[in-house]
Symmetry: C2
Subunit: 648 residues, 2 copies
């Protein structure tokens, strides 16, 4: 048995994604069931047949105005010099918009052009032409006219047309039932307590949401253990009771990845592995004429695979085209490397800066759900391309409305917790703006401003020679650019240590002495520059620090690492330590400032940002966090002028 566990196919196929999809679409032969439902419940449903009108609308000659109905031919003599008098009820009658035109009348004169002489008499001074201001029968809908073809997704106004045509019931395509089966011994329900190695089963809820959004009816199964017999039983049952089957995880080639063997045994496997990253380890097959899609456990892989294979199946069932996302050409802020022979799906942040769309890749790790959630779009690198150079233009599929991306303030540079707060306040004040931030570190933030890829950058860069913050970096790296350095915060940097400081660390020398597991920040981060300075001052080198190469991208990530390790230690800001209930020993009061192009600073967005920063509500909330002081009376300084004066 032990032996058997290691006997497994390690390599998956690399089938082109489109080929794999077309195979299952061809094999998906379910006839869509039709259900006839009340029109009032049919919003968003898809018509199953062409719908013809049973009555015309209007179904009578209707007045299009408030006024009087007349026989046009009897008014031809009316003239300003020759007023015509009509007897109410005999030669004319009052009609309101929508009223039926009684026989024998065939025209309407607007009330504005009518003089009511008395209760019995009307005076007119202009003739009417036949059928004027009358909505003829069928002006809107003609009886027997086709209102909608089959495969039409019903929108609000469509329901009105159906009701107007006296269609109270409408035949729609039944929502295809998609069975969603989560498998894995490591999975626990979301309400369970978490022990190491346990993972909350959340993909099922996400899949259900996608299926619902795409027009299907999700049926989420409870978690199935990694037991072949159990999985087999559930799959066979699902093949009876649903139209499409999705089984999550076990789709790769691991020790417990039974799925492919089971499907092979009780059905047919078309594909095991597609030429796409992430999302490669997909299983596509068939059990008793029902298509089964085995998707990988990593969230991002799973969501992509679902979109590639399950959405087209649902759309085929409904008889609608697969919706396509809006695309936009973007300038790439970084070089992007892609393996030949497979498509690469790269989650991108997109900003609209200086009149162009600039995009940067988020992490490509398939397990990082937030990279999918935070992404503004998807760059799909075709299999025959090895990537793009920085500055290249590429087409990106949008996850969000273009408008939202255009309105976003792109924040780059160093991570600080107050930026989330700023974003929150901005959202509260003006709903259409929001901050999109990427934590790349202070140096990269300055470069993003220089390259026109961000509106604002947060920096805290200590100059080892002057012991001053930020100014010299901006002067040097943004020389000749019209930028503003905006003093924002003073904040406490210090040692982040496990509760009670078990190793007794008080300075950088103690790190070496105790062989603590240090957690560093990435290159270019202000905190790392501070750490290097501390090392230098203590006469130490990076080699002597255990964990120097272990890089985290935020203060919170450092704190989280320290929290999990009795021998851990990190350098970071006070609020991060506080948030995790860790010890904190202050090292420096540093200046965390904002850099922005003057053009942005003076724009509506820029002014809103400054207004919020200067508001008492914001300051109060920031200082309540602890370890922060918002710079009072922050007046922008013209960096470029200084640069000129200093003759850099």
């Amino acid at each position: 048995m032990e032996q058997k566990q290691y006997k497994r196919k390690i390599y998956l196929e690399d089938k082109p994604r489109a080929e794999a999809r077309d195979e299952i679409l061809a094999a998906f032969l379910q006839t869509a069931e039709i259900e006839t439902i009340p029109v009032v419940d049919a919003l968003g449903r898809v018509t199953a047949e062409p719908i013809f009108a049973h009555v015309s609308m209007p179904h009578y000659h209707a007045s299009a105005m408030d006024g009087i109905a007349v026989v046009a031919e009897s008014t031809y003599q009316a003239h300003e010099q020759n007023p015509l008098y009509l007897k109410i009820g005999e030669q004319c009658c009052f009609v309101d918009t929508g009223n039926a035109i009684p026989s024998p009348f065939n025209a309407v004169i607007m009330i504005e052009y009518v003089h009511i002489v008395d209760d019995e008499t009307i005076e007119i001074i202009e003739p009417a032409t036949p059928w004027q201001h009358i909505r003829p029968i069928g002006e809107d809908i003609v009886q027997e006219e086709m209102l909608f073809s089959q495969g039409h997704t019903l929108r609000p106004a469509d329901l009105g047309v159906l009701l107007a045509a006296q269609e109270l019931m409408v035949p729609v395509v039944k929502k295809p039932v998609v069975a969603i089966i989560p498998t894995g011994n490591e999975l626990v329900e979301a309400h369970a307590d978490l022990s190491p190695g346990k993972i909350i089963e959340f993909n099922g809820t996400v899949f259900s949401g996608f299926v619902r959004d795409w027009g299907g009816e999700p049926r989420l199964h409870s978690i199935v253990k990694d037991e072949p017999e159990k999985i087999k039983e559930v799959l066979l049952k699902a093949a009876e009771t649903s139209d499409i089957i999705v089984i999550n995880a076990g789709s790769s080639a691991g020790r417990k990845d039974f799925t492919v063997h089971i499907i092979d045994e009780i059905g047919e496997v078309f594909t095991h592995g597609v030429a796409a990253r992430p999302g490669k380890p997909v299983i596509l097959g068939k059990i008793n004429d029902k298509i089964v899609v085995g998707v990988p456990g990593y969230p991002v892989s799973a969501y992509l695979a679902l979109e590639w294979f399950v959405q087209p199946l649902i759309c085929k069932y409904l008889g609608i085209p697969v919706p396509k996302r809006q695309t936009v050409p973007v300038k790439l802020g970084r070089r992007i490397v892609s393996a030949m022979g497979a498509e690469d799906f790269i989650r991108m942040n997109i900003g609209f800066v200086n009149g162009q769309f600039v995009a940067n890749p988020l992490t490509r790790a398939a397990g990082v759900t937030m990279s999918y959630v935070r992404a503004d779009g998807l760059l799909i690198v075709p299999p025959n391309i090895s990537g793009y150079e920085q500055g290249d233009t590429a087409e990106v599929e949008l996850f969000k409305p273009l408008e939202e991306i255009k309105n976003a303030i792109v924040f780059s540079g160093s991570h600080d917790l107050t930026i989330d707060l700023l974003s929150s306040h901005l959202k509260r004040a003006r709903t259409e703006r929001k901050i999109v931030s990427s934590h790349v570190g202070s140096m990269a933030g300055i470069m993003a401003i220089r390259k026109g890829e961000a509106h604002v950058a947060g920096i805290h860069l200590l100059d080892p020679s002057t012991k001053q913050y930020n100014r010299s970096y901006v002067n040097k790296l943004l020389a000749g650019q019209d930028v503003v350095l905006y003093p924002f915060l003073k904040r406490k940097q210090g040692w982040i240590l496990p509760q009670g400081n078990p190793l007794g660390i008080e300075n950088v020398t103690d790190l070496v002495r105790t062989d603590a597991n240090f957690v560093n920040r990435q290159k270019g981060a202000g905190t790392r520059i501070l750490f290097d300075l501390l090392l230098d001052e203590a006469g130490l080198t990076a080699d002597e620090i255990n964990g120097y190469d272990r890089e985290m991208f935020s203060h919170l990530a450092v704190a989280a690492e320290v929290k999990s390790d009795e021998h851990g230690a990190g350098l970071g800001i006070y609020p991060a330590a506080k948030a995790m209930g860790l010890d904190f020993i202050p090292v420096a009061d540093e200046e965390y400032d904002l850099v922005m192009k003057r053009e942005f600073y003076e724009s509506d967005s820029g002014r809103q940002v400054i207004e919020i920063i200067q508001s008492p509500a914001f300051k109060e909330e920031v200082e309540k966090i602890g370890g922060y002081q918002v710079v009072e009376h922050a007046v922008p300084k013209r960096v470029t002028e200084e640069v000129e004066n200093e003759d850099v």
Copy 2:
């Protein structure tokens, strides 16, 4: 009392739309209620507060691969020439993707690079670096990190992130309750029998759909009669139980338009009339701090007014930006006239022909719901512009995905019932294509082909001199263009008459003799040309025909008119008469053919159209309608070659 009815303000205000909107937004001061609901039910809901993570994800150091966990430092000697043997359970252990890394291990070697010697021993030939293939704590989500700001609309993957962070409940903004009050004595519920003057109440269902789509909670009231006391009572009740009030109709200045006076009495009126067409007669006001929006009764006016004023209120309540539609620049196929001083909202058909978007206005009548339903987009003419010339480029807001418009086959020319059938078959065969047709008549259809505004035109044009159909018109009007004239149908034209033919009409002379109410077709329609020829042959003139100027745009519309009038008569195709249960007396067997540019004919779309026309299923269905014969073995003819031969 009678007297009082006529005392009313006839003219409405012409307030700029944006000004009217900003006024009610400023007056809309409801604090959004927050409800905390299970994450699994929160799809599409809007976060009410910033959401922070309670746990990290992973919450332990997790293996990113299937393989073995090792202490990296103990593997540094491993080399191909110097294999290292590790004892399972002591110096290494098996881990699958997602498993926790047990202490003291700090690296993972992928299973592919591992040789399992026996149950107790592993051989490796490459060293591991510390932390390789390990997902550090918080790689995805760091505890205390802000996951979402408030005002975030939750998508499927967002639910996953919340669950992963062990947020089982989420605070969302309550959906604002929108009371929808239909008023009018002419309204009846959709299931009621219709008598003239009665209108089915369908706007309420449409409004409910819009409100739902925009994130609100509609409360549709039953129909309220035009009685001021009753309306007052319902409005006051709604102001207590809902967040926003919509009252339909009675918003203009008609005899029974009490609404504005009632709101004025029990609340405050901000606006009565905006500078926009259609949609002008809008009432905006306030009752007990609740905003009330009075919208006009005409469907299109109502839908626009709802979008202008109710959607922004809902979005303000939810704390989200008002979504904007995608826009696209289009070439205008026709001249568009617009009154100065008011915005004009013109429903447009948009086609993608010869690589550009071409748009034509649909009817501007506010009562024609189908014009809103059929529209691909909206052209908004600003108040300071008097319109556009044919061929101008203008920006149009899209009602449909761009992709759908790009895939549509634009059908122009004469109306025939089989075109709907063709559309239906096309939809069934290939879900991404569909036919968008405008009934402009044969001549206009030919011109649309000439101007590159349509892919296909249906024509049936009799040449009075040769008594032949279509050929001579194409040769003359499309001379020099590479087009295909595709013989499609033979169909029966004849007199459409009330059942039993009460006037005993058998020919055109009988129309004059009996003074029948003739219903004509529009200029350029093939049927009108046929009628003119019949007149000419009989030695009659248009003046002698009662109703000659009364123009309908389709066969069905003619039939519907005839059906409503004992003295009616029209000329049209057999199936239209049959559909309405009318008498039909054949006059001519005419040829209804298709004209298309060769480029389209030879394209994928073109070939699909021809394939369907030639399919036995289509032919059978067409001929079953009656009065039709599909041309057998239809072989396309090269019109241009003929044109050259004929030396036109």
